[in-house]
Every structure is written in structure tokens, then in C-alpha cells.
Symmetry: C2
Subunit: 351 residues, 2 copies
Amino acid sequence: MTRFIGVESLATIVHAIGIEPFLIGLAGYIEQDFRRWAEFHKVPRHASHSDLGVVELMPISDADRFAFKYVNGHPGNARAGLLTVAAFGVLADMDTGYPRLVAEMTLLTALRTAATSALVASRLARPDSRVMAMIGLGAQSDFQALAFRALLGIDRLQVYDIDPASTAKFVRNMTAQGFAVEAFDSAQEAVMSADIITTATADKRNATILSGNMVGAGIHINAIGGDCPGKTELQREILLRASVFVELEEQTRIEGELQQMPADFPVTEVWRVLAGLEPGRTSAAQVTLFDSVGFALEDFSALRYLDALTADDANIAEIDLIAQPDDPVDLFGLLQRYRPTAQPSLVAVSA
Amino acid sequence: MTRFIGVESLATIVHAIGIEPFLIGLAGYIEQDFRRWAEFHKVPRHASHSDLGVVELMPISDADRFAFKYVNGHPGNARAGLLTVAAFGVLADMDTGYPRLVAEMTLLTALRTAATSALVASRLARPDSRVMAMIGLGAQSDFQALAFRALLGIDRLQVYDIDPASTAKFVRNMTAQGFAVEAFDSAQEAVMSADIITTATADKRNATILSGNMVGAGIHINAIGGDCPGKTELQREILLRASVFVELEEQTRIEGELQQMPADFPVTEVWRVLAGLEPGRTSAAQVTLFDSVGFALEDFSALRYLDALTADDANIAEIDLIAQPDDPVDLFGLLQRYRPTAQPSLVAVSA
């Protein structure tokens, strides 16, 4: 049988552990996997496009496990009350090819993106960072705030979104979670005197959410909104001043803020920092930038974490995804196992 | 919610319709999709190899639907009582990117392979065919026999397998299904005076299951065992004498009996025959060969058929694979929906 971890099941697991402890544990798995970067078979995602959106399969494997995430991107979905990005995934054994678990990954992706951001910031932001500015308060923003508090102790937020409803949602949610949240009327005001700036806007174009004059010395920028071709958030001038860190260089050059830069613009892959091969921040005045687009390795880590959390949990549902014939050569016999039994015949009994 | 069709559910559906009517319906869907060949976005499969086997993702889409099959190949699994090939799949909407159903595909692949074989044979075998020889009596063979009876009326089988246990399994199963089954001590004897020969052996090497002297004029050969690089069943001389039909030419040249032939050896894609663009059999003496390796389109058709069969079936299980937030921007609110309610506090009441 294969474990199935749906939306309710995942949410229940997260609450049983606590959201922030869950994020800390998840960050640990992501760090462990980034540190053994060379052990992974990394391939480009497969994409099927239509007029309305894209469906992608993102596979990755090491010697022990195979994982893939299915994820869509349909901007028009919101009008129908559907998610513009929804996802699910599978973790399987390389030794047998059998799936271990099928999981929802819409919530899980939000959690792993936030855990990755905070993990990387823990190596790049100034250790005395206290205030985070957040530009873009959509579905991902709440998870970012919680991960930065869990991993870096950040509990003061200065926020801005062009949409008042998103701002109200964020202030309501995060105030209830004990954050000191101050909402501003512009991005310019929100970033004033912040130590960390997180940009997570949804606009699918080359926008300037953050311009050079808004970024002072010593800032760490966590840029997660520029994540596909034709979508960027930062003025080019910022990249010229910053030390730029990425997940998978070849992917970020196509999908990230790096789209704006020449192909030889220097970057550092974050796994090298996490593995201790390169320094992170080297001075208090340095501007650091995590140009994050999301990578299949983080999904692999998230599924591996979920696998460890649920391996001995009798409350997890199981589904009969894979046939279990008594004799592997007799698949027809397996089908016949489910043949309906004959109706009991009615026997007329004479009185 | 997403429909989940597990092993038991699929088997129940098949029995409710009847195995042979199910195969006829499935063949109809496969034919319909082959006839609109140009409408599909066809891509190579993604493969992740380990020392023990391979895990593959096979995606395909048209303007309306996206489908993929996950399938493994682990020859050593049988020793552990596991399937060497197991599969599951997903059918999704291109308009929204949302999955419609998740289905077991181990049984379903056996059914679609058999339906495809019989569909193609219905255009290539002599109309007066009465007797089928079958070499290789593994997991696929029973389904082949049932599909050939359902679509071509074949009910006389002359069979052979090197493994007596597989032979006994097949004779037991198919005799109970009303076939006249005669088992022989060699492939040479089994093919004598047969109208159709199906080869479906599991040997993963370049074998000679069928040699030229065993193939008389007018025979149709349904070769489904030579289906991956380094695995073939037919003597090269047979291909030189036969008119060869394939699913996707570029795939069959790598995986099928065609591995033995030069790159310009002439073949006909079966969709052209099914669409009426090319003749099938043109004379009673012609030797026809379907060099079948299996193609993602057949999985797409099988999932589309299953989708149609279960769309209004209240007995089909549903799983919460995709999050349904009240507000798409408030994914955190969705997580909080599942927050455990506070324990009722115990109130000490004075007596």
C-alpha cells in the first residue's frame, strides 16, 4: 500500500508539530540535501503549455529515492476561485520503483519555499537583523514571515502590497500569530531601516518592485517573486551592487532576476555556502541577494521529511495504487480476485 | 476533489462492465485518439536509472487534457514477490491544470496493451483468422487472449512458454474463460497452422523466439515482447519478409524489433491505417507485423476512458489532493482551518 497525505492530513501533521517547529525541521532536511548536492540526478522540468497555462513535471533522484512534483501555473484560475498554482508529488524507492507516498504539495511547496528562504537568510543576513520588510503579501507571504521568525528570530515586519485585501489578510493573520506588523502605503516606506527585504509579488512581467535607492548597505534581499521567464522584481542596478546567491545556476539564469544580467555575471550556488565551501556574508556592509526560483531538490527534501514524519504513523491513510498479485505472473488472477460473487440463488421451499 | 481509482476500484469497474466489453470500449477510445494523432503533444519519456532498475515518467497532452504515467522496470523485484513493472497515472485538465483523477495503471496498462494489439490486428490479420499461437505466457498473455476474442472472435489458442508454471497458469485461467487452449512443448509446434502469432516473452536480451522458417504466408505477427533497447524476439529475416507497422516510429527504432534493421527500413505508423490514410493488409499471402513497444497515447486513451466511465459514479473515492482555500491569496488561512480546537478546560465544581 502507498501512503496518501492529502491537504487535511498534511495540515494536521503541521499543527501536531507546530508550524514553526515543522519549518525548522524542514529547513534541516533541505540543508542536509543541499550539502550533498553532487549525489542528485538533476534534470530540466518537463512543461506542457496551453493558451491558459502550463503543467509541469519536476523529477529528481538520488541513489535511494526518486521524487517528482506535478505543478500547474494558470493565472486565470483565480477568477474561477481556483489556485493559480497547485501541486502534488510522489516519493518512490529507487531499489524497487514502488511509490512510498503521494502527497498534496500546494501547502507543502509554500512551506518548503519559506524554509529555504529562511535557511539561506540565516547564512546571508546580518546576525543582528531584527526587522524584515515584505513587499507582496500573497499566498506565500505568511509562510515567509513564520519561517524567518522560526529560524532567525525576526518578529517585526514592515509590509506593503498594492492590494488592500491582501494587506488586510496578512496583517490579520500575522498579528494573530504575535508579530508586530506595520503596513505602509508604499514599498519605499516599508523598506526604510529594514535589515532584510523579502519581495514576493505576483505580477507576471519585468517590474521594478525594488529600485537601487531603496537598498542600503548591509541589507539581505530575499527575492522570491521573480521566478519565471519574463518575470522580475528588482532594478538591474541592485544586482550590480549585490553578492548574488542562487539555487541551480542554469535554471536561475533563465527564470530569476539574473535574466537581466549577462551570462557570465558572477553568482554563487547556495549549496556551496551550506556545505562550507564558500563564505556567505563577508562584511556588515555587503548587500546579499538570494535570487530564488525554487528547485526540485527542495521538493525532494520536503517529501523525504514527510516520509520520515509519517513512516510509523498509523493514522495516515493508505491507498491501493499498486497491484499486489499473489503471483507476479498472474495479473489476470489479481483481476479475478475482485470478481463479484454470484448472487445467492433463491430456493423455493414448499410449505 | 480528485477521483482516486485504485486496484480494487478499477477491477470492480472492469467486472461491472465485463472484461471483454471493457476491452472493446477501451479499443474504441484508443482508435479515436490514434485517428487524431496530429493533435497530441508527444515527447520522449523521462527516465531515472539505478543499478536495479529504472523509473519513468511518460507525459502526453492534447488541447484539453494532460496525462502522465509513472512506471518502473525492476527485473529483480520478482524475487521479492513484487511486480517487475508497476504503474500509476494521472489525467488533468489543460484549462485549469487541476488533476481529474489518479489511477492505478498496472492492470490498466495490461488492458490497454491488449486492446491496442487486438485493435491493430483487426486491421492487419486475415479476416478468416481463427487460431492464435501465443509464445510467452506471462502477466500480459491472458489479457491478450481476451482482447483477441473480444475484437476478432479468436477462441482457439496454441500456446508455449519455457516456464511450466506460467503455462499452467495460462491454461487454467483461459480454459475457465471458455477458450480451447492447447499447450505445446515448443514454440515451433505451437505456431503450426496458426493465423496469428503473439510473442510476449520476458527475456531481456536479443533472443530468437520466432525464426523465419516458423512464419508462413498470410500470418499476422503481434510482437509485444521486444520493447526496450537490447530486447528483441524475432529473427531479422522475418522483418525483411513482413510489412511492418509501429506506434511511434522514432521510439520503435530504439526499443522494438526494428533495433535490428537499418534506420531507413520502411515502416508504417498504425495511426495512418486507423485514420484510413494507408491500407492495412493488402493480400491474403502478405506477412504483417505489429512491432509494438507501447506508447503514451494508449495510456492517455485508457485514462480518458476511465474518466468517462467514472465521471458520474458516486461510488468512486475522492481524495483531497489539491488545496481549496476560501480565498486563493490566503493559503495560511486554509492551513489554520485544520488547527486543532482547544481542549475543553476542566472546571472544578465545588460540591
